[in-house]
Amino acid sequence: MINNRKRILKKKIKIVNTTIRDVTCPFCGLLCDDLVIENKEEELKILKNGCSKAIMGFEKQAPENSPKVASNEVTLEDAIDKIFQILKKSQTPLISGLGTDVAGMRSVMNLADKTGAVLDHMHGDALTRNNLVLQDLGWIMTTMSEIKNRADLIIFAGTNATKYPRFYERVIWNKHSMFSRQKNKLKLIYIGEKLNTKLGINSNGEKPNILNCKTEQIGEIISSLHALITGATIDVNEVAGIKTKKLEVLATQMKSAKYGVIIWSPADLDIPHAELTIQSFCEVVKYLTRITRFAGFSLGGDDASTTSNNVCAWQSGYPLRINFNKGFPDYSPHHYSTHNVLKNKEVDSLMWISSFSTTVKPPRASIPSIVLAKPDIKLNFKPDVFIPVATPGVDHTGQLFRTDNVVSLPLKKVRKSLYPSVDYILNEIIKRY
């Protein structure tokens, strides 16, 4: 199969070996943009600054695949026609997954408006946990370059950030920092359960401060710290298994930090009402800002979740999850989850979009299903239409938002692709209306 692909590509284009610099990696929310990639006869090799996710994303050669309608190979044109027929018949489509770039998401918004669709992202639960906090009380947040240069105390709350392979290299143990931040004086604290804290050991071998507790208890610990910081006393010897004395020491450290940061990953806080836990982080940050500088930082943004949330917000006014069925955007993040609208049979067709990864699978539903996904996705059902799609940042140019919702980066095309982009497919559907 791979040889076949090479043969096709060779026929179409002149193969040159090239080295591409400043490549943005689209495979996690950090969007490292310092990769050096070699393209040798359309096979990619990361020469510099790769991580396990980047290697998987850039170097793995996917087997060839082609558009299918009910498992039969068809032309792209025919597949798009079939999608159009399905959507035309559908009262309320669900467009979910949303693993696409800014251009793709712009077209998702246009198509959803036209078809009266419900929109959700494959990491919609994580997005919603944060969105609810923003809408309830707000927050004080920071970005990667600020952490790298300013942070002198960092609390990892319910996450160890290891899903983001270069996080420590880039903003925790970074070589250079503007404000004489001394690496070995950087205080790291971990709160939560089963956290791998090895990466938090500094070059002197000093271990971070670890507060072991269940994920459900992190909010309790943070709220107790908040109480201690305000000057209140706690009349018990321990909170969630942590000695009050230990919390008192930590509270004092937090107050005397010059620039403290609480880092969480909403996906890792997979507990009911995680928004209340996140809110406890944001409220202690706000209180500490009366005295010193403190900020929150949310780790996420995988599969373009921050991208789709942002594009959705500027084009409709609302973050995800919304429903265009009434002709205007209707925001209801609990109601319009993929799980919920499928379970309650509120949608009558499904379009799943996933152009960066294959880990989250489209839900199996007894309604007409359209899957626009990476060629190597393994499905446990036969969708009505399947189109293998190109990956932004590998197969075509594009733009993505980083985890901090502030920085967005350009994506490069580093190889030729056999596959159409999500944006192209959606525009072809829109043209048919």
Binding site: D33, T142, Y259, N310, Q315, F328
Partner: protein, 561 residues
């Protein structure tokens, strides 16, 4: 333009017998015909030329399309406001039509609705004043998704660590100007803005206020140093729009003195003071809060190097979105509803988003309302005063027609004055001011003057060669009604609005500048980015393709002076 047998066959439109206001050409309400040829205004063609379409504009008022020089329409802080305030949108949901997309309006409208509503009010260009370089790509994405109107943005500098390091090291001005020139090119900006000069940076070092001559405790640099360096850079680079200054101490009672000192700090160089209403507060009276409008207006009248926009507040619920994280934090206690966001951003800047309700029964809010109007009415030269509410900070832009009526109609103004907080009304000289703006004044402050200030030579007027961005109003004694619903709006010569409703959707352009600078600055910047930033220098720059892709418009490079 079609070519038929080699002969140019232009598309001509004639607007017949309108009453024209065109301050650039001194035309003050004269009956004229206007000709449009392929999107541009042109002289009267020879009589044998076929006019493809004629509009009878008898008794109608014709002005060029309006230009908003300061409106927060795109970028991270606006999107935070949108995400934070679902309750803001619920009151103003907009359904799709066969022609237009759905969305929402109010204080934090969706980009698409923003474009429609500006066009429906006769505006054809809007400028985002606070584009953080680190967030410039997003600002351009949002502006690209704002249909019909032309766009552009001012890059925000002054709290970025790179500039402060240069100032602390006493780098020469040439290097600073090169950096500013690089920023304008890299971020596709049309001008430079400074917000609470150095204050956003000082807040990151836990300073809570910063006076004009107070030092940043890490860098030892004062706001005055920053203002001087940036005004010089803007002048040396030949950037048409003067440095766009959101001064120190926004909203702080007594900041009048800081503002007057700021005017003197630039030593005669051109400077634009934005939303000056928020910087014109005295300390008199029992409540230690009074109007400084008279002193500010006097200083502006005396210093022809200064232009201002007002940042008028109007009563009601809105949201304040600002780069000024230091003073937004200070103001968060007044958030309504009680939620707010502050961000530190990329060793570049910051932002603060605080919802706020201006209440006419509140002494402070009512006096703010008076102060804004006093400033409008006490500054003599409409070429140096621009009409803004600092959307959405003072009020949403959709309230402009109401504001125009307040300026043009003294009895209407006094009627409202009689309903607001009594103490505030008696503390203001507003009731004693007889001045009413004329249509010519309005055409100056909303068209001719902003175009001139921004260096847009073929916008803001109706002379031959101008882009045919034209607004036609039905004359109405009630100026709010008149300015709310133009009869016709033409964008690039195409009719886009009729009777206040969109009839055609198209995309405006993005105005940028390409000032020259010494490229060797990239060496210093390259090493700074590598060491301290988290994106590469190359990826920081915004390519033309990123703005024009997806068919969302094109880039127009305006000439430097």
């Amino acid at each position: 333009m079609k070519l038929l047998n080699g002969i140019r066959n232009y598309m001509y439109i004639k607007l017949k017998n309108g009453i024209v206001y065109d301050p650039v050409h001194g035309i003050n309400g004269e009956k004229r015909d206007i000709y449009i040829r392929d999107g541009l205004i042109t002289r009267k063609p020879p009589s044998n030329v076929r006019i493809n379409k004629t509009y009878d504009m008898k008794d109608k008022i014709i002005m060029s399309g309006a230009i908003d020089i300061h409106t927060h329409i795109g970028g991270g802080k606006v999107n935070i406001a949108r995400m934070m305030l679902p309750e803001d949108h619920e009151k103003d949901l907009i359904s799709k039509t066969p022609l237009t997309r759905s969305g929402c309006g109010n204080a934090a409208p969706s980009t698409i609705t923003t474009g429609y509503r500006y066009a429906e009010m006769g505006y054809t260009a809007c400028f985002e004043p606070a584009m953080l370089p680190a967030n410039a790509r997003q600002a351009h994405m949002e502006m690209a998704d704002t249909p019909i109107v032309d766009k552009g943005a001012y890059a925000m500098l002054g709290s970025d660590d790179f500039l402060l390091r240069m100032l602390a090291k006493k780098n020469d001005q040439a290097a600073i100007s090169d950096y500013v020139g690089w920023i304008i090119n890299a971020t596709q900006a049309l001008g430079i803005k400074v917000v609470n000069p150095g204050g956003i940076n000082a807040f990151k070092f836990n300073q809570r206020k910063l006076e004009l001559d107070e030092l940043n405790k890490h860098y030892g640099v004062s706001p005055r140093d920053i203002l001087k360096a940036l005004t010089r850079a803007v002048t040396e680079l030949g950037i048409p729009h003067p440095l766009h200054v959101h001064g120190c101490n926004l909203g702080v009672p007594g900041n009048l003195k800081t503002t007057l000192d700021t005017i003197h700090a630039v030593e005669g160089m051109r400077m634009h003071l934005t939303h000056i209403q928020f910087h014109s507060y005295g300390l008199e009276g029992d409540r230690k809060f009074s109007s400084g409008a008279a002193e500010i207006a006097e200083a502006v009248n005396k210093n022809p190097n200064i232009s201002i926009d007002v940042g008028q507040i109007l009563f009601g619920q809105t949201v304040t979105t600002s780069g000024d994280s230091m003073l937004q934090y200070a103001g968060h206690w007044h958030a309504h509803p009680k939620k707010w966001v502050i961000m530190d951003i990329e060793c570049d800047a910051g932002c603060g988003v605080i919802p706020f309700k201006y209440r006419d029964e509140s002494f402070v809010n009512a006096l703010q309302w008076c102060i804004g109007l006093e400033i409008f009415l006490l500054i003599d030269d409409p070429w140096r005063v621009f009409l803004t509410t600092d959307h959405p900070n003072g009020a949403p832009f959709t309230s402009y027609p109401h504001l125009i009526r307040l300026l043009m109609d003294r009895s209407f103004r006094n009627d409202i004055l009689s309903t607001i907080n009594k103490d505030a009304a008696t503390h203001s000289v507003l009731s004693t001011i007889d001045r009413e703006y004329s249509l010519y004044d309005i055409a100056t402050m909303t068209r001719a003057a902003p175009a001139k200030s921004l260096g847009l030579k073929n916008r803001g007027h109706l002379g031959s060669g101008a882009v045919a961005d034209i607004t036609v109003y039905n004359n109405n004694k009630n100026k709010e009604k008149m300015f709310s619903k133009p009869e016709y709006v033409f964008k690039d010569g195409e009719l886009v609005v009729h009777k206040g409703k969109i009839i055609k959707v198209k995309n405006g352009v993005t105005h940028t500048l390409r000032p020259e600078f010494d490229k060797s600055i990239e060496k210093t910047l390259g090493s700074y980015f590598k060491k301290y930033q988290t994106v590469s220098l190359e990826n920081f720059k915004i390519d033309d393709d990123e703005i024009v892709e997806h068919g969302n418009g094109k880039i127009v490079v305006q000439p430097c002076m």
